[in-house]
Symmetry: C5
Subunit: 365 residues, 5 copies
C-alpha cells in the first residue's frame, strides 16, 4: 500500500522539473545535482582516427586538452554531474557559456539543441524500462560538439554507449573514418535506436493487458490501463521535443557539421518521427482499450440486471398468489375445492412458463 | 482462444517497428531481413522503349548493368530482400548510399522520399486485405530511380505490378513512350490505386457491422467495432506519411523528373489526399458507431429496469396485503366478514389497475 | 427493413470513391461512367456578348468550335459523361491533358483546382437534398475555362444553372458584359450559393429533431441524431476541399482571370468559408444533442430506479412484519392480545410514514 | 411550450445565414433586408476637426457630400438598411464596388475586412445580451473608410456609438485631433469593448448555473448548461472571424491608415485575442460542468441503488425465514418449542445485525 | 456554504477581464485601478554598475530622472498602480504612449510584448499559490525598458523581486556587470522561475487527490478533481500567452537588447516552453483521473447490483416455496407427509446451493 503510493508519487512529480534547489541562484550558476553524490565521477577518454585509437579512464581533464596526439578525434564521456570543480574547468578552458553548464548540471531539461557558433550543444533524454515493474525512467544526456572534440555528460554510468565503444575498438562501420560531428551523431543515434526497444517492451505489456481485457477484465485491468496510459503520456512528453531537436540539428547550417553527416542526421530524424508516430498510435490503442473496458463493465451490469429482473418478475407474482391462499378469511371457497391446490399450482406453472417465453422473445435468455 | 490471442498479438506489435535484430550494428550495415529466407530471391528485368521491349528473369545483376541494348528504360524488380550479396553488388555498382540499402532491407520503415541528387529513393507501403478474416497486412516496397533505370524491391512476389507488366507488353497508355521517371510514377500510382480497393472492402465490412448494430447488437458487434477501429488506426498511421512523401516527390526539383511526369505525380497526390480523407471519414463513422452501441446498451438497460420496476411495484404491495390477512391474530374482525375475501381481492385489483395506469401515464408501458 | 438497410448501405459507401471499374487502366484512360447510360448526352451552347446572345441545343461539338460568330463568349454545358467519343473529340481539339478528361468522367473526385497554363480546370460538388427523406446527394460538376470558352460537365441534367441561363437571356447583372472568366465564376457562385439553401434545410431538420429531443426523446430520436450526424460529416468532407479550391482559384496568377473577376472570386471564397463555419457549428450543435440524449436517458433510468427503490423499501419491511405474525408457533403471546392486530397495523403505518418522510428529505419524492 | 420551441427555433437557425430571399439575384444586386421596413431609415452626420464640430440628422446624403465645411472629418451613421435608393446613391457617388453594398444590405455576413485600395470596408458583429432571458443577439455593423470620411451602417438605432458621439461633443481623448482612420478605429474599438461586458454577464450566468449544479442539480440545470453551451458556441463562431479581421486591418499597408493609428489597432487586436481566449476558457468551464452533472447523476443513482440493495438484502432473507414458519406442515417440531418463537426472533435480529455490519464494512452506510 | 459559493464565484469571474469601470473612457485614458487604494504607493530606486550601487525608497520620481550619478543602470520598482499623478508624470517625462499607461493601470491584461522603438514594454503574470486552500492568484507586472532604465509596476508589494535586490547588493552573478536589458531579463526570469515552484505545489496536490482516488474515492474527490482541473485551465490560459511574449522578446531586433542578453532570453524561452508542456501534461493527468473516477463509480454500482441480485435471486424463489406450503387449502397432501417439512427444507437448501454455484461460475462471487 505504502509502496504503491510511493510508486504513484513518482509518477506525478516526474512530469514536473524539480525546482526548489535552484531558487534564488543567478542564471548560469553551477548547482549541485540532486542525486548520488557518493558515487565518484568518472571520465573516459577516447582518441581515435582511421589508423588507431586510445581508450583510457582519466582522473583530470588535462589529458583531454593535451593536443600532442596524432589521433584527431577526441571523445570525453563524463559519468556523474556533481564534480563542480571539473565542470568549471571545462567551462573555462573551452570558453563554454555558463548557461550551458547550468543546463548540464540541472537535470530535468527539455531536450533542446543550441548553436553557440563556436560549438554546438544538445540535451537528450535516455529512456530505461524496467520489464518487471513496467516502470519508465529517464536520464539526461548532454553533448557538446566543439571542433574535433565531443564531450558527453551522463547522470550515472550506463551501458548504452557500449555500442560506440565497441565500434571504436573494432573499427566497424565508418565511425573511425569520420570526424567529431559523426561521433556526436552516433551518440544521438544509439539513444534514438534504444527508444525502439522501449516501445517494443511497452507494446508487449499492452498486449498482455489487452489479453486480460478480452478474457477476464478486472479492476486491476483498469489500473493497468491507467498506468500504461500515463506512461505513454510521459514518454510522449519526454520525446516530443526530440523531434524538433533533431530537425534543428539536421537543418542547422553550422560549419561544424559535415555534409556527409547530414544524411545520417536526416536518417535519425526519420527515426525519431517514427518513434513519435508509434507513441501516438499506442496512445490511441490504449484509449480504445479504456472504451472497451467501460463497455464491458456496462454489458456486465446489463447482464446482472437481467438475471435480477427475470428472477423477480417470475417469482414475485407467484409469491403473491401463494400469499392470497395463505390468507385466513373464513369464507374462501377455493380453499375447499378438492383440486384447488393443484389448480393453483397449475396456474403458477403456466404463469412461470409465460414469463419465460416473454423473456425468450425479448432475447434476454 | 490461442488463435484469437495470436491475432491480437499481431495487432499491437504491428504498430511498432521490429528492432532487436538491428541492435548494435553501425548505421548503414546490411542486416538479414526477418522472414522467408527459404524462398529464393527472384529478379525480373524489363528493358523497353517506344519501339520494343524485353522481359526476362535473370540470375545475376550483370545483365541489368549491360548497356548494349537500344531499349532505353530498364526496370529491375527484385522479390525478396535477404540476398545480401546481391544488395551489396547493387550498392557498389550504382554507388548507392549505405543508409538506403539499410532502409531497403530493414522493413518496417515509415514511407519517405529522399533525394540523393544522383538518384531518388522512396519507400512506400503496399496494403493487402483478407476478405475472410478482415485482416490488413502491409508490405514495404522500396524504389530507386537513377538515370534511365528503376529498381523496385518487394518483400515477396506479388501481383500488384502485373498491371505494369501488362502495359509494357501491350504498349497501352503512355508508359513505353516515357522515361524511367514515368515508370517510377507508374509503380507508385498502382500502389496508391490499390488503396481505393482496400477502402471499398473495409467500407463493406463496416456496412455489415452497422447492419448488425442496427438490427441486433451483441458483444460481438462491440468487438467488431473495436477491431475495425484499430484497423483504421493502423491504416491511417501507415498511409499518413504517404501524403508527405508524394508531396515532396511532386514538388521536388530534381532533374531526374520530367515536367510532363509532374502532372501525373500531382494526380497521385490528389489520390493520396483523397485516401487520407476517406480514412478520416471512416474513422469518424466508426467512432459514431461506438456511441450508438453504448446508447443502445443504455437503452436496453433502461428497458430491463422498467420491467423489473413495474413487476415489483405492482406485486410487492399486493403481497403485503395478502401477508396482513395471513397473520394469525385472534382478533382480526375482517377475516370473519362474509365477503371480506372478495373485498380484499377487489381492493387488490383496483390497486393493480391504478399502478398500471400510473405507468401508462409515465409512458413506461 | 430491407429498405432501411439499403439506405444505410448508401450511406457508408458514399464516403468512398468507387474504384473497381478503373482497375488496371493506364492513367489518362477514358472510362465509362457508372450510371444512366440509357439517357442520351445533351449539349447546350450559349454564345453571347454585351450586345446579344444565342442559345441552342447542339448534336455535335462542331458548332462550338466554329469561330465565325461575333458573340465572343461561349459556354458549352454537357449533361451526361458517358459519350466517350465526344470526350475524346473535345480533348483532342482543345489539347486538354488526358488526366483532366479522366477526372471528368471518373466521378467521385475530390473538389480541386488545376492550372494547366493554357486553361484552368476545376471540379466542384453540387449538393441536392431530399426534404422528405432528409437524404443528401452529391453530383460532380467539372469546368474547363479556356480563352473565351467555358465548358461545364454535369452528370445529368439539372436546374441549378437555370439562374445563369436566365441572366444570359435577360441580361441582368454584369454577366453579359464580362468575359469567360466571369462565366466560370458565375457557375461556381451559383453552386456555392445553393449550399446555403441546403444548410437551411438541414438546420430545419435539426430543429425538428431537437424539438423531439426536448419534449419526448425516443430511440428514433437517437437514430435521427445519428443520421444527421453522419450527413453533416459527409457534407463536411465533401465541401471542405472546396475552400482550398476557391482559395487557389482566387489567388491563382493565371492571365486567364481578369483582375475585376478576382474581387468576385474573393466574395465566393468568403461564402465558402462561411459554409464551412456553419457546418462546423452544426456539427457541434448535433454533438451537444447527443450528450443531451444520453443525459436524458440517464435521468430517466434514475427516475425508474427511484420508483422501484421507494416501493421496495416501504413494502418489503412491512411484508416481513406481516410474515412474522403469520408464523404458526404455538407460543406467540402477541397473537392473543386483544388489540395486537391493530397495534401491528399502527406500527406498519408509522413505519410507512417514516420511510416516506425519509425519501421526502432525500428529495426523491 | 410553444414559446420554448420558438426560442430554440431561433437558436439553431441563427447559426445559418438566411438565404432564400437572395436566390437567383446576380452578384452585386441590392436586395431588401428582411426586417423592420416600417421604421424609417435615419442618417446622422458629424463633421469635426480639432477646433469644432457639427452634429445633425439629415434627410438626404447631399449634405454629406458637400465639401464646403472646414471641419475635415465626416462621419455618417446610417440606421436601417432598407432604403435601397439611398444605398444606390452612396454607391454611385463614392464609386463603391457593388459587392460591398450587397454585403451591407445582406445581413448575416461573416466579419471580414476588404481593402479596395480607394477605400477600406469592414463588417463587424455587434452583440447584445438580454440579462433576463439570457439570450444573445447579433447585429451587423458595416463601416466604409474613404479619404476623410467614415460611413457606418447599423441595422437599427442603437446606443453603442453614444460613447463616440459624447467624445466628439466633449472633445475628450484624441478623437477630434485625429483623422477619419482614427474614427473608424474608434467605432471598432467601442464594439470590441462591448464584448467584455457581454462576457461578464455570461460569466455571471454561468456562475449561477454552477451554484445550482453544486447545491441541487436538477434537469433544469442540465438544460441551462445546454443553453449556455450553445450560446458560447454561437458567440465563438460570431467573434472568431473578428480576430482575423482586426489582424488584417492592423497589418494592412493601405495609405488610408496613419502610422499612429496602427498602435491603436494593435491594441484592439490584443483585446479581440483576449475575448477569444476568454470564450474558449468559458467553453472549457461549461464543458467541465457537463461532466460534473453527469457524475452527480451517476453518484445519485449509486446512492439510490445502495438504499434498495440494503433494504432488500436485509429483509428478503428475514421474510423467507418468517415464511418457513408460516408453512402448514403437520410435523414441524420447532413450532411447538416453548421459546421457538423467541429463538427465531433472536436469529432474525442477529442476521439483520450481521447484514448491517457487512454493509458498514463495505462503506455503504 | 456562503463561503464556498464565494470561492467558486472568484473562480469563474477570474477568467474574464473586469470591464465595467472602463466603459466609455477614450483609449489611452488613465483609470483608477480597482483595488487597495488605501495602501500608499511606494517607489524603490536602484542605481548600480559594476563598481557600486545605491538603493533607496523615494517619494517622487525626480530622483529617478536625475542623471548626475555615475551608476549607469537605474531600476525603479513601483508598488501600487493607483497614483494617477505619478503615472502621468512618468508618461510625460519619458514620452510613453498613453496606451501603455492604460495597460499598466488596467490590470487583467493578457501577457504581451510591444516594441515602441524608443522603448520596450511587456506585461507578465505573476502567480501565487495558497498551499492551504489550493487557490491560485495572478498579479500583473508591467515592465518598461528604456535606454539604461527599467521601470517595473506591481499591483502591491511582494517578495518575488527580493532575489534581484539581493543580487544587486551582493554583486553575485553578472547582473551588476550588464546593462538595463539584462535587468529586464532578470525580472522576467525570476517570475518564470517562480512558475516551476507553483507547478511543484500543484503536482503535490494532484498527488494527494490521486491517493484519495485510488484508496477511497468520494464525492469530495470528484470536487477536488473538478477544482484542480479548473485551476489548471486557468493557469494554462494565463501562461499560454507568455510563450509568445518571450518568443517575440527574444527574436525582437531592437537595438535596446544586447546580443549577449539574447542567449539568456532564449533560456527563458526554453523555460516557459517547459512550463507550458508541464501544464499540458498535468491537464492530461487530471483528465485521466476523471475517467478513473467514473470507472470506479461504475464498478461500485456493478458490485452493489451484484449483491442485490444474488440476495434476491436466492431468497425470492425460496420464499415462494415457503409461501406455497403456507396456503390454507384443505387438500394439500404434502402437508401431512411425515417428513414433508424436512424434504422441503432439503429442497430449499439444494436450490440455494445451486444458485450460489451458478453465481460462482459467473464469477460474481
Amino acid at each position: 500500500m505504502k509502496n504503491d503510493n510511493l510508486r504513484n508519487s513518482l509518477k506525478i512529480q516526474r512530469f514536473i522539473r524539480p525546482v526548489d534547489k535552484t531558487k534564488g541562484l543567478p542564471p548560469g550558476s553551477l548547482r549541485e545535482p540532486p542525486v548520488e553524490k557518493a558515487i565518484p565521477v568518472t571520465l573516459e577518454l577516447f582518441n581515435y582516427n582511421e589508423k588507431g585509437f586510445t581508450s583510457e579512464h582519466i582522473a583530470t581533464v588535462d589529458k583531454f586538452f593535451d593536443k600532442s596526439s596524432d589521433l584527431t578525434v577526441k571523445w570525453l564521456n563524463i559519468n556523474g554531474l556533481h564534480d563542480i570543480k571539473l565542470m568549471k574547468e571545462i567551462r573555462d578552458r573551452l570558453n563554454i557559456h555558463p548557461l550551458v553548464l547550468e543546463d548540464i548540471t540541472h537535470t530535468g531539461q527539455r531536450p533542446k539543441f543550441d548553436d553557440y557558433e563556436e560549438y554546438l550543444y544538445f540535451v537528450i533524454k535516455m529512456i530505461t524500462y524496467n520489464r518487471q515493474t513496467h516502470e519508465i525512467f529517464t536520464e539526461q544526456v548532454s553533448i557538446i560538439l566543439i571542433d574535433s572534440m565531443v564531450i558527453s555528460f551522463q547522470e550515472r554510468e550506463g551501458d548504452v554507449f557500449d555500442i560506440i565503444r565497441e565500434r571504436i575498438k573494432t573499427n566497424k562501420g565508418r565511425l573511425r573514418k569520420m570526424g567529431a560531428d559523426y561521433m556526436a551523431y552516433s551518440l544521438l543515434d544509439v539513444v534514438v535506436d534504444s527508444y525502439f526497444e522501449i516501445l517494443e517492451n511497452i507494446g508487449g505489456h499492452i498486449q498482455e493487458i489487452e489479453e486480460d481485457l478480452m478474457s477476464h477484465p478486472t479492476v486491476k485491468t483498469l489500473q493497468d490501463i491507467h498506468h500504461i496510459k500515463r506512461d505513454i503520456l510521459y514518454l510522449f512528453n519526454s520525446l516530443w521535443p526530440m523531434r524538433q531537436l533533431v530537425n534543428t540539428f539536421y537543418q542547422n547550417e553550422s560549419k561544424i557539421i559535415d555534409k556527409t553527416t547530414r544524411f545520417y542526421l536526416k536518417d535519425v530524424y526519420d527515426h525519431i518521427v517514427q518513434v513519435i508516430d508509434t507513441i501516438e498510435s499506442l496512445r490511441d490503442v490504449v484509449s480504445g482499450m479504456m472504451d472497451i473496458y467501460l463497455s464491458t463493465v456496462n454489458n456486465r451490469m446489463n447482464e446482472v440486471m437481467k438475471v435480477l429482473t427475470i428472477m423477480a418478475s417470475i417469482f414475485i407474482p407467484l409469491t403473491f398468489i401463494a400469499g392470497i391462499y395463505g390468507m385466513n378469511f373464513d369464507n374462501m371457497p377455493e380453499l375447499h375445492f378438492k383440486y384447488g391446490y393443484y389448480a393453483v399450482l397449475g396456474i403458477m406453472a403456466i404463469m412461470g412458463i409465460l414469463m419465460l417465453s416473454y423473456f425468450k422473445i425479448k432475447k434476454w435468455l
